[in-house]
């Protein structure tokens, strides 16, 4: 596959350089160029800091959600690889402002290992951390084992809700609690049409025939629940909606996110969105807010994911508080109201 590259080994560093060059509201830590920070913001004084992180290759996840009303910093790893323990520690020391740090990231073994290790070292220094793992990918474990699931596009809802709670000045425990509640009510499922190619190796993450699609694909191309023949956009939209509504909270309105995994066009997403909306209406599920676009990708993987967050009044209120980063904007109540 053709790619715009200089040195494959420098891909992540060059990407980060471009991001901070384009967006002055983001900057790299002066002693660790794998930490993305927000420009200093007096409004953050004394508030809980939120740190996320993980492998590169998922933009806007993770660093794209560093911004006001969202995360305070992101620890950046190589493509699909965990950030280093030292990077997480340094990021924590940089953003901690007396109220403690919430680690909010996707449930992957290497990330958990490194964030936990950092948390333990920092505890010895007297820096308080709490951890909430995002576990929204329904294809990775059955409903009764939902806390072991992988984290995918549902990260964005978790950031939005935890970020609003932190911005409001809530305690570390309270921010962690509402983030955990958001995670517990968020479900995602992906459908893959084609792999992405790793810039370092030039190899695709998986193989799939031209006439096949994979339901339940993971955000690194992990095997899903079912590989079968191509189906129409309507069938895909309805199928994903049904599977997620099965696990949604009865009677609760939802926030909907229809997300491109990278290569799939916005046009296709909107074609699918029509059938998602129709199916939700048929099942009697009220839509509070819809997000359609590239929110959590896998380089140029072809495919999409659907996420439902079952809201209640408090979650709905936090979701719609103002927030801003170079990759995400919420103007607040009234913006995009239905």
């Amino acid at each position: 596959m053709k790619k715009f590259l200089n040195q494959p080994a420098a891909f992540v560093q060059e990407m980060l350089g471009g991001i901070v060059a384009a967006h002055p509201q983001l900057r790299l830590h002066p002693e660790d160029d794998r930490i993305v920070l927000r420009a200093p913001d007096p409004a953050q004084k004394g508030k809980v800091a939120i740190i996320t992180g993980g492998g590169s290759g998922h933009l806007p996840v993770f660093l794209g959600y560093v911004g006001r009303g969202l995360c305070s910093a992101a620890a950046v790893g190589n493509i699909f690889s965990s950030p280093a323990v030292e990077t997480i520690e340094r990021a924590s020391r940089a953003v901690e402002d007396g109220a403690g740090v919430l680690y909010l990231y996707g449930n992957y073994g290497g990330d958990v290992m490194n964030f936990d290790e950092a948390s333990e070292t920092l505890a010895e220094e007297g820096l308080r951390t709490e951890t909430v793992l995002v576990t929204d990918d329904v294809a990775s474990f059955p409903p009764e084992a939902w806390t072991r699931r992988r984290g995918v596009a549902g990260l964005v809802f978790a950031y939005k809700i935890a970020g609003a709670a932190a911005e409001e000045g809530r305690s570390l425990e309270a921010v962690a609690e509402v983030a955990q509640e958001a995670v517990a009510r968020t479900r995602t499922m992906g459908v893959g049409l084609g792999p992405c190619v790793l810039p370092t190796t030039g190899l695709p993450t998986f193989e799939i025939a031209d006439d096949e699609m994979e339901f339940g694909i993971g955000i690194h191309g992990e095997r899903g629940v079912e590989r079968g023949p191509m189906r129409s956009a309507d069938e895909v939209g309805r199928e994903l909606t049904r599977r997620l509504v099965d696990e949604a909270v009865d009677g609760a309105p939802v926030a909907v996110m229809l997300n491109s995994l990278g290569a799939t066009s916005l046009e296709e997403l909107y074609v699918v969105y029509g059938s998602v909306q129709d199916e939700l209406a048929r099942l009697g599920v009220e839509i509070e807010r819809a997000y359609v676009g590239r929110y959590a990708t896998s380089l140029e993987m072809a495919g999409l994911s659907l996420t439902l967050l079952s809201l209640h009044e408090e979650l709905g209120d936090l979701l719609l508080r103002p927030a801003h980063s170079p990759f995400f904007c919420e103007l607040g109540a009234g913006d995009g109201e239905r």
């Binding site: 690889s81 965990s82 323990v85 030292e86 290992m113 490194n114």
Partner: protein, 207 residues
């Protein structure tokens, strides 16, 4: 006694030897896991040697910190993360020591094992690197503290080999290999084999 300088050159020599086993480890891992252990070992050992080439650490703590960081950052797979964490625990344990007595290596191995067990979540018998490390430690713990470096290294190596052989018939119960647990019966565990290769290299360098 091992001075920082002596430990540094020993680690560089060990890394060179272990890198020679990368192909065998990659092939084993491709059978039962995702096959990235070869890259982890090749690029990790290469990064360690490059870092040591212009290192001026004054203490064992600084030295081990550099080794762990370099290895873990080169290709941050789960194994690389775990070994990086193990080295961090060792660093906290040795602190500012400039000399490390041969008998202290047994304790350092125990600290590394605890770190891997805690973060990796595996237990003995799950068929992982933990079993091989524990085999070395059990054999070392039987030796008197006055044992020579050569005797210690031989015990660590034979303990690792025996433990790795003992788990080969078992099904894997941790990591990606656990996804196809039954199929791993009879295949040596790549992680355990990595420690066997390392223990052999240590023995060759220590004598």
């Amino acid at each position: 006694m091992a001075s920082v300088e002596r430990t540094r050159s020993a680690i560089a020599a060990i890394a060179e030897r272990v890198a020679g086993d990368a192909d065998r480890l990659r092939a084993l891992d491709a059978e039962v896991g995702d096959g990235d252990l070869g890259v982890t070992v090749t690029s990790g050992c290469q990064a360690v040697r490059a870092a040591l080439a212009d290192d001026a650490s004054q203490t064992h703590g600084e030295l081990f910190a550099l080794v762990g960081r370099s290895f873990a950052a080169a290709n941050p797979s789960t194994m690389a993360n775990l070994l990086g964490i193990a080295l961090r625990r060792v660093v906290r344990h040795v602190g500012e020591a400039t000399d490390v007595q041969p008998s202290a290596w047994t304790d350092l191995l125990a600290v590394a094992i605890d770190g891997i067990a805690e973060r990796g979540g595996a237990v003995l018998g799950d068929k992982t690197i933990l079993d091989a490390l524990h085999g070395s430690h059990a054999r070392l713990a039987e030796l008197p503290p006055t044992s020579s470096p050569a005797a210690l290294a031989a015990a660590a190596r034979s303990g690792a080999e025996d433990a790795a052989a003992a788990i080969t018939p078992l099904p894997a119960r941790a990591g990606r290999a656990a996804w196809q647990a039954e199929r791993t019966r009879g295949t040596p565990d790549p992680g355990a084999e990595l420690w066997v290769a390392t223990a052999r290299a240590i023995e060759a360098v220590a004598v």
